[in-house]
Structure formats: structure tokens, C-alpha cells
Amino acid sequence: MKILVCISNVPDTTSKITFTDNNTAFNAAGVQYIINPYDEIALSKAVELAEGGKGTVTVIHVGEASSEPTIRKALAIGADEAVRVDAVPRDAWFVANQIAQYVKSQQFDMILTGRESIDYNGSKVQGYLAELLRLPSVSIAKKITVEGDTAVIEREIEGGKEVVSATLPVVVGTAEGVAEPKIPNMRGIMAARTKPLTVIQPVEVDSLSRISAYETPTPRGAVKLIDKDDISQLVALLHTEAKVI
């Protein structure tokens, strides 16, 4: 089984988020980048599915050379090879088109992405990609098992879960719990240095939208502390002031 995992490079969860150029661009200065946590789970699952000679794992990343540490980490976790599309990942539509272009030149049985990215909080790439490739897709996957040419996937739905079977190839967006996160060991880190990393050129993609500005949320006023012996005051405030009950 050939598995492709799409990896995005995102600011660490504790990063301070600021903007430059009159609030039109993200300020990357001093920001530590990591593999998008959901993509890391997807990769862990892919490595698990491929273990014992059952398959190979390729990771693909659309980004500039500066994100190579993230790609090497993915290789250290256990991917067999990596592909980097050498371009600024302008938006999800651009990224999905680049990946789709690459996939069309290959034969993958399963394409994994994280359920969403923690920077722009979109889950667009998987949907775009599935549509561009005319493949079935399942999002928010909590469990994946593969048997022959069929994947059985448990996905989260509002207030419950759904079990879906999909004919391969399929695009799957993974959520927490789908696999135990794999921590790279020394051997993995050493091996990652020599695993193949192919750099390919982007294709042209038209632009349908863009982010024109950023705003910071208006801070809340100071907290109103309520005496623990006067709880009915909280109820009154929730009713008359906050108007939420």
C-alpha cells in the first residue's frame, strides 16, 4: 500500500501571534514552527499502516526551503521519502492544486491529511484535494483499518460517530486518537538525513480569494469575581447583564 501524508508547517501552539505591514501579514519573526499536530497524527497512522513491509509512506509539503526541518522530522518519525513543492503556500486552494498535480503523476492508495491546520483552522485542503482528484473522502477520522481495497473508517459526527467503508484510493482527514503519536528515535533521526527528499516546481494556480487584513480580538473586560457564598448573584448577572440565560 502506498500512502501519502500532507504535512503543513505551523507556529508552535504557544506562539505569540502578531502581524506586520499594517496588519496585513503574519509576523514570522521569532516564531518556532512545528508539524501541524493533526498532520503528525496522520503521519503516525500512516507509518503504523505501512509497518512490517505492508507499504510505503511519502510525505508532501508545499513550502520554501526554510521548512525542511519539519520535513526531516517527518522522515525521522518514519516516512520513507519526502517531496517538497518549492513555493510559498499562498492558500489552501493553491496547496491542494499542487498536491493534486503531484498525486496525478503517482499511484497512491491512501492520502492522509490532518483534520485541520492549527494556523488558519481550515479543513479545506482535504476537501479540495479529494474533489480535484475525484476521490472519496472521510473527515475527522478516529479509527482506520484497511482490508484489501477497502478502508473502514470511524469518523466523528455531531454528538456521535459514524462507521464508513470506502473503496481505495481515499482521502482521509485524521483526528486525535487515530494513532499513538510516534516519537522519533535516534535511529530514525540518523536515517532521516539520508532519506530521499525531492524538490519539485509548483504549477500555476489562479487566485480565488486572499486575506486582506488581520485583526486582534477585542480583549474582555476585567473578570468580575463573585463571592462563593452569593451564587445567586452569578445567576442574576448571567440573566440581566450577559443575557445568556
Binding site: E131, S137, S209, P217, I231, L234
Partner: protein
């Protein structure tokens, strides 16, 4: 040119987040002076379909086929795009629900449309260019997304607008969509849904608890509080990691991001990764025994003290309030 809103149903019922999309679509139609129609896929009875008129939408396209009884994103996306062309819609509105998130990019790709996912505002319109806000970086910032393509798909964040009534008569049109067998490469085998509980993603009130509750056996006080409020329950990551609560309740950066009207946090410290999933809640109440807990910095109301003492008292006070 018109506006099309896809209203999702669960077992034939509309959820509040669906009604919100109706009001949003109606507002966009009013802004642009275009007609608006709703699309319903699957088995929904006439009485339920007619409630769509309550929100000012005079027309419903009904696609009710055996094949579409269960949600298959590929097939549903094909139907939505097909109906959009059928009614000449240049704007498609749907909910940013779990299924909406799967549908929106597919529909946008089919229509070669710009996509505003997780939309949290009405558009500011200048000709073909629409500006819509969404929260990014796990609620640490808001982005103004500029949709430049002529066709637009908008996936509305639940709890962003209130459904507002503007009753009108409804005309129901049955439509036979063009779908292909290849749209059905996934098959739903089983669905398990807790029907007696409020679903977390679109709950208006959420009662959430963390490691401060000490163990799963203590969740009764949380559930009782949730029950008087008609709220959904949630938890912090260590709580679901430890198996005290199901993963589906985990909110935060690596869990669900929610924006209820009221979020009550009990025994949760307020780590940045937790806040990432809840800080866009309208009102936040924090109950924590540590006055230095970071959560108090982002709360509207706080009570410093022992949850085991305070939560039952709050439940009682709310019962008293509801009873008069």
C-alpha cells in the same frame, strides 16, 4: 443570480445551526437584492420543510432520493453544485458543521468559487469583492478574507448569527439531480448518536470540566449543572487522555473549537492550548480554587473556591431561577 442555502437535517430535523444559515442567507440576499432559495437533501417531511419560510425563504428545492438517505460528502456536494447551477446561484451558504466542512471545499472546487470557511460575519460587499471575517490561529486573531472570484461559498460558523423570523409562504420544488455512481464510493455502515444529549459543536451553553475534578466518578455534578442549563458537556485534554471522558468532548487547540454563548469552566487551569478552543465564547464563567489560575484573566465572571462545593450550589440556584 441568486443565493442558495443548503440546510442540513439530522434524521429529518433541522438544527439551530441550520436555521442560522437560513437567516444568514436571507440577510445576504437582502444585501445584494437577489432572490434566495433553500436546498434540502434527504427525507424531511413537508411540515418541517415549511418551517423554512419562517426565516424569510420563500422557496425550497427538495432532493429526496433513496440513494441520498445517508450523508456521503461526494454525492451531496454534487447535488449542491448541481442545484446551484439549476437556480443560477452565485452564492452558496452552508453551515461550518462537521459535514459542512467536508462539503464546502468540494462545492467550491466544483463551482470554481472562492470559499469563506468558518465565516463569522456578514459580507462587506464591494461589487464582486466580498470581505468576510473568520477566526484564525485558534482564536488568537481574526482574518479578513477577501473573496475575489465571482462565485462564493460561505460556511457559517455556528452561533454567529441568531435565527431571526421573517415569515413568508413556502413553495416546494422537487428536483432530480445529476449524480453519478462514482459519487458513492463511501458507504455508511453504522451511526451511533447520543440523541438525549445536546451536541457539543453547536451547543449554546457548554459546561466543561478539567483535571480539578479529580476523577470520572465526580462528573455527576457537571452533568447535573449541564442538565438545568440544557447545555452540552466538554472537558480539557488531560481528562479525555486519561479516559475520564470521551475524546469527542475534548475542546482546545487539538480538540474541538467552539463558540457558545456561555462557557462554564470548572477546575480547568486555562492553558493557552485549552483557551485556543474556547476563547471566542461570548461569555466565560470560571470556577477554580486557585485565584491565580490563568483562566480568570480571560473570564467574564469568576468564582474562587472548591468546585465540589460551588457547582451543586450553582445548580440549585439555577433551578430556583428557572422555577419562577
Amino acid at each position: 443570480m441568486s443565493v442558495l442555502v443548503y440546510i442540513e437535517n439530522i434524521d429529518g430535523h433541522f438544527k439551530k445551526s441550520g436555521l442560522e444559515t437560513l437567516s444568514y442567507a436571507k440577510a445576504v440576499a437582502d444585501q445584494t437584492g437577489q432572490p434566495v432559495a433553500a436546498l434540502s437533501i434527504g427525507n424531511v417531511d413537508r411540515d418541517t420543510l415549511e418551517t423554512i419560510g419562517t426565516y424569510g425563504i420563500p422557496k425550497v428545492i427538495r432532493v429526496d432520493k433513496e440513494q441520498l438517505k445517508q450523508f456521503v460528502n461526494q454525492a451531496y456536494a454534487t447535488v449542491i453544485a448541481d442545484v446551484a447551477k439549476h437556480v443560477g446561484a452565485q452564492t452558496v451558504v452552508l453551515s461550518n458543521s462537521f459535514s459542512g466542512k467536508a462539503l464546502a471545499p468540494r462545492v467550491a472546487a466544483k463551482l470554481h468559487a472562492a470559499l469563506a470557511d468558518g465565516a463569522s460575519s456578514l459580507p462587506a460587499i464591494e461589487g464582486d469583492v466580498w470581505q468576510i471575517r473568520k477566526t484564525v490561529f485558534s482564536s488568537k486573531a481574526i482574518a479578513v478574507e477577501e473573496l475575489t472570484a465571482r462565485t462564493k461559498v460561505i460556511a457559517l460558523m455556528p452561533n454567529t448569527v441568531e435565527p431571526s423570523e421573517a415569515p413568508t409562504a413556502v413553495q416546494i420544488e422537487d428536483y432530480e439531480p445529476n449524480i453519478e455512481d462514482t459519487d458513492f464510493s463511501t458507504i455508511v455502515k453504522d451511526i451511533v448518536r447520543a440523541t438525549d444529549k445536546v451536541a457539543l459543536p453547536d451547543a449554546e451553553i457548554v459546561v466543561s470540566a478539567g483535571r480539578g475534578l479529580k476523577g470520572p466518578e465526580n462528573w455527576k455534578i457537571v452533568e447535573e449543572l449541564a442538565e438545568v442549563l440544557g447545555a452540552a458537556t466538554a472537558c480539557s485534554k488531560p481528562v479525555s487522555d486519561a479516559g475520564w471522558r470521551p475524546h469527542a468532548e475534548h475542546v482546545g487547540q487539538t480538540g474541538l473549537a467552539i463558540s457558545p454563548k456561555l462557557y462554564i469552566a470548572i477546575g480547568i487551569s486555562g492553558a493557552i492550548q485549552h483557551l485556543a478552543g474556547v476563547s471566542s465564547s461570548k461569555t466565560i464563567v470560571v470556577i477554580n480554587k486557585d485565584p491565580e489560575a490563568p483562566f480568570f484573566k480571560v473570564a467574564d465572571y469568576g468564582i474562587v473556591g472548591d468546585a465540589f462545593e460551588i457547582v451543586p450550589k450553582l445548580t440549585e440556584a439555577l433551578k430556583a431561577y428557572k422555577n419562577h
